[in-house]
C-alpha cells in the first residue's frame, strides 16, 4: 500500500511524458519529411534553372555560329573558302577547328590535297572515325540504319560516349521531320522509342543562304579523357560544316555564366548554406558556387541532389551540397526542453498529491489508533460489566419476583456480549490491518466451538425468530484456533440476526475432509444478490437495498471473517443456494500429533 502510491504517481509522470515524446518525435519526423520534400523540389527547380541556363548558352553559341556560317557562306559566294575558314579559326575564341564535308562524304576542308598543320593532322586523326560516320550528320534521313554501335554507348565507359542531337530547347515540331538515331543505342529499349520520337531535327529556314532544309545539331563525344563538342550544319546541297569547339574555352564560358560566390557569408544570400557543383564526365569538379562553409559537410559529403545536364553536356551533372536538414537539432533541443518542463510540472503536482495523501493517511492512522485505544479502554470496563452481570444473574433468587430482574440482567449480559464481540471485531480488524493477527491452533473439537457459539447466540436469535440447527459429521479432535472460528461464526450469525430475521432455521453443517474443516452456514433469508458477492467482503461495504436500510452495522464483519479464515489457511466464500445466503467456511485443521495434550 505504501509503495503503490509512489509507483502510481511515478507512472502518472512517465506515461504522459512518453506520450508527449512519442508525439513529438512523430511530428518532428513528419515535418522533416515534408521539409525534405519541399527542399527537394526547391533544389530541383534551382538545378533545372542552371541547366536551362547552360542550354541557353549553347543556344546563343549556336546562333553565333550560325551567323558565322552564314557570313562564310555568303562571303564565299555560296561555297566555303578555305582562307576565310582559316581566318575564322584564327579569330574566333570559341572555335578550335573546322571541317567541311560534301554530300559524298568527301572532305573539303581541311583540304585533303594541301599540306596540313600539326594541329589539323591531330584533329583529323582524332575525328577520323567520327567524320566517316555519315549518319551522325544525318545524310540519309529516311534510312533507318543505326550508327555503328561501337560509337554509341553512353553510360558504361565514358571513353565511348558519343551523342548527337539538337539542343533540347529547340526540339519543336519542325515542318519536316527528320529522325536522328545516333543516340538511340545508348538508351534501354523501351525508353529509346520515346526518345527517338522526340529527337526531331529543327529545320532552319534560311532560304537566302541555301540552308532552307538544312539540319543542325551538336555532337558531344568523349576522347582523350575529355568531352569534345562539335556543332554542325548541313545545307540543302548536303554539305556539312562542322565546328569543333575549344573545350577549355567552352568550360570557361559555362563557368562565367554561372554565379560567383560572395566574399563574405551572408545569410540572406541565395545558397547561403549550400553549394552547387558542376561535375564533368570523369566525375571531376569543374566549378562550384555557393556559400557553404568549409567543413560543414564533414566526412559524409553526399550530394542532396544530382541533376544530369541536358545534351550537349549529357554526361555532366550538377550536384547540390548542403548540410542536410540538421536544423531540427534546435527543434530537438526545444522538444527536450518541453519534456523536461512537463516532467518538472508533473513531478511537482505528484509531490503535492503525495504530501496531501500522506497527511490524510496520517490523519486516518491517528483515527484508527484512537478507535483502537478507545476499544481497548472499553474492553476492561465491559469485562467487568459482563462479569458482574453474570455474577448478579447467579446470585439472584430463583423466584417469580426476581424474574423481572433476571430478565433485565439477561439483557445486560447479552448486550455486553454483543458489545464485546463488536470490540473484538474492531481490534481484530486493526490487527489484521497491521498484519499482526496471529492464529494459534490448539487441539480441540470443531463441533464444541460451534456449539459454544450457538449457545451464546441462541437467546438473541430466538428473539429475532431464528433457530440454529447444527449437524456435525465428524467430531475428531484437530488443531484449531477456536477463538478465530468463533469470531467467524459470530460475524456470520450476527449478520443472520440482522438481515434474516424471522426466517426460521439457520443450518450449520460441518465436516472434515483431507485436513480441512468445512462449515456451511445457510439461512432462509433474502440472500445476497450475485452482483454483490465479491463486494460484501470489502471492508466498510454494505449492500444498499430496502432490506439493509435501517439496519446498523460496521461493514467490516464479512471481510474480517474472510481474512481470519484465510489466515487460518482456509477461506470464506459465498455459495449459490436456492434460498437465502449460504457461506462456506474452510479452515486448515491438521490432525494433532498422537498423544499430544491440549
Amino acid at each position: 500500500m505504501k509503495t503503490r502510491t509512489p509507483i502510481l504517481l511515478a507512472s502518472l509522470i512517465i506515461v504522459p511524458l512518453i506520450l508527449l515524446a512519442w508525439f513529438g518525435v512523430r511530428l518532428q519526423s513528419n515535418q522533416q519529411e515534408l521539409l525534405k520534400l519541399q527542399l527537394g523540389a526547391l533544389i530541383e527547380a534551382q538545378l533545372s534553372d542552371v541547366n536551362a541556363q547552360m542550354v541557353q548558352h549553347f543556344a546563343r553559341l549556336q546562333n553565333a555560329l550560325d551567323q558565322q556560317i552564314d557570313d562564310l557562306y555568303r562571303s564565299g559566294n555560296f561555297t566555303f573558302h578555305s582562307q576565310a575558314i582559316d581566318l575564322l579559326i584564327k579569330q574566333s575564341p570559341q572555335i578550335a577547328r573546322v571541317f567541311v564535308i560534301n554530300a559524298e562524304g568527301k572532305r573539303l576542308y581541311p583540304m585533303p590535297d594541301s599540306e596540313l598543320t600539326v594541329d589539323e593532322q591531330r584533329f583529323l586523326a582524332q575525328t577520323r572515325e567520327l567524320l566517316a560516320t555519315p549518319n551522325l550528320f544525318n545524310y540519309k534521313p529516311k534510312d533507318p540504319t543505326l550508327v555503328t554501335p561501337s560509337l554509341v554507348t553512353q553510360s558504361a565507359a565514358p571513353e565511348q560516349y558519343l551523342r548527337s542531337e539538337p539542343l533540347v530547347a529547340q526540339k519543336t515540331i519542325p515542318p519536316q521531320k527528320i529522325m536522328l538515331r545516333a543516340p538511340a543505342a545508348s538508351y534501354s529499349a523501351d525508353i529509346a522509342q520515346a526518345d527517338i520520337a522526340e529527337e526531331q531535327m529543327v529545320v532552319a529556314e534560311r532560304s537566302q543562304t541555301g540552308f532552307d532544309t538544312a539540319a543542325s545539331g551538336w555532337i558531344a563525344w568523349y576522347a582523350d579523357t575529355r568531352l569534345h563538342h562539335i556543332y554542325w550544319r548541313r545545307n540543302n546541297a548536303g554539305t556539312v560544316i562542322g565546328f569543333a569547339l575549344n573545350g577549355a574555352r567552352l568550360t570557361a564560358d559555362l563557368i562565367t555564366n554561372l554565379p560567383t560566390s560572395l566574399t563574405q557569408v551572408q545569410t540572406d544570400a541565395p545558397l547561403h548554406n549550400a553549394e552547387i557543383r558542376l561535375i564533368n564526365s570523369g566525375g571531376e569538379q569543374i566549378y562550384a558556387w555557393g556559400q557553404l562553409a568549409e567543413g560543414v559537410l564533414g566526412d559524409n559529403n553526399k550530394p542532396l541532389k544530382i541533376f544530369p545536364l541536358s545534351h550537349p553536356l549529357g554526361s555532366w551533372r550538377l550536384e547540390y551540397f548542403a548540410p542536410g536538414l540538421s536544423a531540427p537539432g534546435a527543434n530537438w533541443i526545444s522538444m527536450a526542453l518541453l519534456i523536461a518542463i512537463t516532467m518538472l510540472g508533473l513531478s511537482v503536482i505528484a509531490w503535492l498529491i503525495y504530501r496531501e495523501y500522506q497527511r490524510d493517511m496520517r490523519l486516518a492512522q491517528q483515527r484508527v489508533n484512537f478507535v483502537n485505544q478507545v476499544s481497548h479502554e472499553l474492553k476492561t470496563p465491559l469485562t467487568n460489566v459482563r462479569m458482574y452481570a453474570e455474577m448478579l444473574e447467579q446470585s439472584l433468587p430463583d423466584d417469580p419476583e426476581a424474574e423481572r430482574a433476571q430478565r433485565y440482567v439477561g439483557v445486560i449480559s447479552n448486550e455486553s456480549q454483543r458489545l464485546s464481540r463488536l470490540i473484538e471485531n474492531v481490534l481484530s480488524f486493526s490487527r489484521l490491518g497491521r498484519g499482526n493477527h496471529t492464529i494459534t491452533p490448539i487441539r480441540g473439537i470443531v463441533a464444541d466451538c460451534v456449539e459454544t457459539v450457538i449457545e451464546n447466540f441462541a437467546p438473541m436469535l430466538l428473539q429475532r425468530g431464528l433457530k440454529v440447527a447444527f449437524t456435525a459429521e465428524d467430531r475428531t479432535p484437530v488443531l484449531i484456533d477456536c477463538g478465530a472460528l468463533e469470531q467467524i461464526l459470530n460475524n456470520l450469525l450476527s449478520n443472520c440476526e440482522k438481515y434474516a430475521a424471522n426466517s426460521g432455521d439457520i443450518r450449520i453443517h460441518s465436516w472434515i475432509d483431507a485436513g480441512m474443516t468445512y462449515l456451511r452456514v445457510t439461512d432462509n433469508g433474502p440472500g445476497i444478490p450475485k452482483a454483490d458477492w465479491h463486494k460484501v467482503f470489502t471492508p466498510f461495504y454494505r449492500c444498499s437495498n430496502q432490506l439493509t436500510d435501517g439496519v446498523t452495522g460496521t461493514g467490516i464483519g464479512l471481510g474480517l471473517a474472510r481474512e481470519i479464515a484465510r489466515s487460518h489457511g482456509g477461506d470464506l466464500v459465498i455459495e449459490a443456494s436456492d434460498q437465502g445466503a449460504s457461506f462456506l467456511i474452510s479452515l486448515r485443521t491438521d490432525i494433532p500429533p498422537q498423544g499430544a495434550q491440549q
Binding site: P93, T251, I286, E294
Partner: protein, 443 residues
C-alpha cells in the same frame, strides 16, 4: 647668303620639327630580319636560322599612356595562408597605386569557389579597392581554371582592343578543382589571346604546377615568373605593371613565307603554325623599347653561287595603340651563296647567330626536362652536357660572353638535375628561365 642663312636659321629647325612631328606620327614597330649566315656555301643543302625581330617604339613621357584593363586573380587557397597571402595583398595594393582613373581594374579571388572581390571598375577610389583586397583571407582548395575564367569575364566587361587587357594570375598551388591539365589551360590561354587578352602567371613558392602556368602564359603571350619568396612579390608586380603600362602595339600577326624551295623546320621557343612553306604566329603585344624575336630554322636546298637570293618574305601586321590604326610591315630575307669559306665566315651575323644558338640551347634544355620527367636522369644530363659543348663551341667562335654564360648555366643545371629533393625547385627555376628566354621577357 642671306637667304642661305635664313634657310639655315629658320627653315632647318622648322624642317627638323616637322620631320620630328611626322616621325612621331609615323612611329612604328621596328622590324628587322636577318640570317645567321647571310652567305652560305653553294651547292650544299644546309640549315640556317632566320631571326625576325620586332621592337616597340619609344613611349614618350609627355604623352598619355595607353589605358590598361587588368584583372588580378589571386589564389586564396589554404596553402596561401599566412605571409603569402599578406604579401600578395600588399603587392596587389601597391601595384594598383600605379594605375589612374583611365585604367580599369578588377580583383578575383578563388579557393574551391570563385569570388569577385572587386568587379571591373575604373581606378578612381584606390582606397576602397585596397580595402577590398585586404579583406581576402586564405582558405580552401584551388579552382584555378574557374578563377582565370572569371577574371577574363571581368576584363570582358570593358574589353577594348585599344587598351591593354591583361589577367595577372598569382597561384601557389596545384589546380585541384576544375580543369587542371597544362593542355586545357593552354587552350584557354589561346582562346583568350584571340580576344586580345593575355595572362601573366606568377608562381609563388614551390607548390604550383609550372607546366600549367607556362602553358597558360605562353599561349596567351603573357609573362611568367617564379617567385620563391613572398617578399619578392611586390617587385614582380611592379615589373609586371611596368610591362603592362608600356605596351605600344597589340595583335601582332607574323606571317613568314619561305621562297625558292626553302623549307621551314621549326620555330624555336614559340608556338607557331606551319602549313607547307608558310609559317604564321602571333604575339599579343609589343612593349616600348623591348625587342621580341622569332627564330625560324629553315632548310635551304643546294644552290649554285648567287647573290641576294630571296629566302623568305616576312609580313607583320599589328594595331598601333597610339595611332589606333592597323599597320603592317614587310621585309625580305636575302641570302648569298659562295664557294669561299672565308667569305662565308666573315659574313656570319654574330648577333643573329647568338640569338639562334640561345634558342636552340633553350629547346635542348626543355628536352632535358622532359627526359628528367621520364626519370632518365642520365639522358637529361647528357643532353645538358651536349648543350654546354654546343654553347661553348659557338661561344668561342662567335666570341659571345652571353653564350658562354649560358654554357655555365647548362653545366650547373646538369649538376643540379640529380638531386631528388631539389628538383622541384630546380624545375620551376628552369621552366621560368626557359620561358623568359623564349619570349624575351623583360624581367
Amino acid at each position: 647668303m642671306n637667304i642661305q642663312s635664313v634657310t639655315r636659321r629658320v627653315l632647318l629647325p622648322l624642317l627638323a620639327v616637322v620631320m620630328g612631328l611626322s616621325s612621331v606620327q609615323a612611329r612604328e614597330i621596328n622590324l628587322t630580319t636577318s640570317l645567321a649566315t647571310p652567305v652560305m656555301s653553294a651547292d650544299q643543302r644546309q640549315n640556317t636560322f632566320i631571326k625576325i625581330s620586332l621592337e616597340g617604339f619609344k613611349q614618350e613621357h609627355s604623352e598619355k599612356r595607353i589605358p590598361a584593363n587588368i584583372a588580378i586573380v589571386l589564389d586564396k587557397s589554404g596553402s596561401m595562408q599566412g605571409e603569402k597571402i599578406q604579401q600578395a595583398r600588399e603587392a596587389a595594393v601597391m601595384a594598383i597605386q600605379r594605375l589612374n582613373e583611365n585604367d580599369i581594374v578588377s580583383v578575383v579571388s578563388y579557393d574551391s569557389r570563385v569570388q569577385v572581390v572587386v568587379p571591373a571598375t575604373r581606378v578612381s577610389d584606390k582606397h576602397q579597392i585596397a580595402r577590398a583586397i585586404r579583406n581576402i583571407h586564405a582558405n580552401g582548395n584551388t579552382a584555378l581554371f574557374a578563377g582565370v575564367s572569371k577574371g577574363a569575364q571581368e576584363l570582358r566587361k570593358f574589353l577594348d582592343l585599344n587598351n591593354v587587357n591583361r589577367v595577372i594570375l598569382l597561384s601557389d598551388g596545384l589546380a585541384n578543382v576544375g580543369p587542371s591539365t597544362p593542355n586545357e589551360l593552354g587552350q584557354l590561354g589561346l582562346s583568350l589571346a584571340k580576344e586580345g587578352m593575355s595572362v601573366t602567371t606568377i608562381g609563388l613558392g614551390l607548390g604550383y604546377n609550372e607546366d600549367l602556368m607556362t602553358q597558360l602564359a605562353g599561349y596567351s603571350d603573357g609573362n611568367h615568373a617564379f617567385v620563391e619568396n613572398a617578399e619578392d612579390l611586390a617587385r614582380i608586380f611592379q615589373y609586371e605593371f611596368g610591362d603592362v603600362l608600356s605596351v605600344v602595339a597589340q595583335g601582332v600577326n607574323i606571317e613568314i613565307h619561305c621562297k625558292n624551295g626553302v623549307r621551314p623546320v621549326r620555330i624555336l621557343g614559340r608556338e607557331a603554325e606551319i602549313r607547307g612553306n608558310r609559317i604564321t604566329t602571333r604575339m599579343n603585344q609589343l612593349y616600348s623599347e623591348q625587342e621580341k624575336f622569332i627564330i625560324l630554322e629553315v632548310e635551304i636546298p643546294a644552290q649554285s653561287e648567287a647573290q641576294n637570293l630571296e629566302v623568305a618574305d616576312v609580313g607583320v601586321s599589328y594595331t598601333n595603340l597610339y595611332s589606333k590604326q592597323a599597320q603592317s610591315l614587310r621585309n625580305r630575307v636575302l641570302a648569298s651563296f659562295s664557294q669561299s669559306e672565308k667569305q662565308i665566315q666573315e659574313a656570319v651575323d654574330v648577333e643573329t647567330y647568338e640569338a639562334a644558338a640561345e634558342q636552340v640551347a633553350n629547346e635542348e634544355s626543355r628536352r632535358a626536362i622532359k627526359l628528367r620527367d621520364q626519370g632518365d636522369i642520365e639522358a637529361a644530363k647528357s643532353v645538358l652536357k651536349q648543350n654546354a659543348i654546343y654553347l661553348d663551341n659557338l661561344g668561342q667562335s662567335l666570341a659571345s660572353p652571353k653564350l658562354l654564360e649560358q654554357k655555365a648555366e647548362a653545366l650547373q643545371d646538369a649538376e643540379e638535375l640529380e638531386s631528388e629533393q631539389g628538383w622541384n625547385r630546380k624545375r620551376k627555376e628552369l621552366k621560368e628561365r626557359q620561358y623568359k628566354r623564349a619570349t624575351q621577357q623583360s624581367y
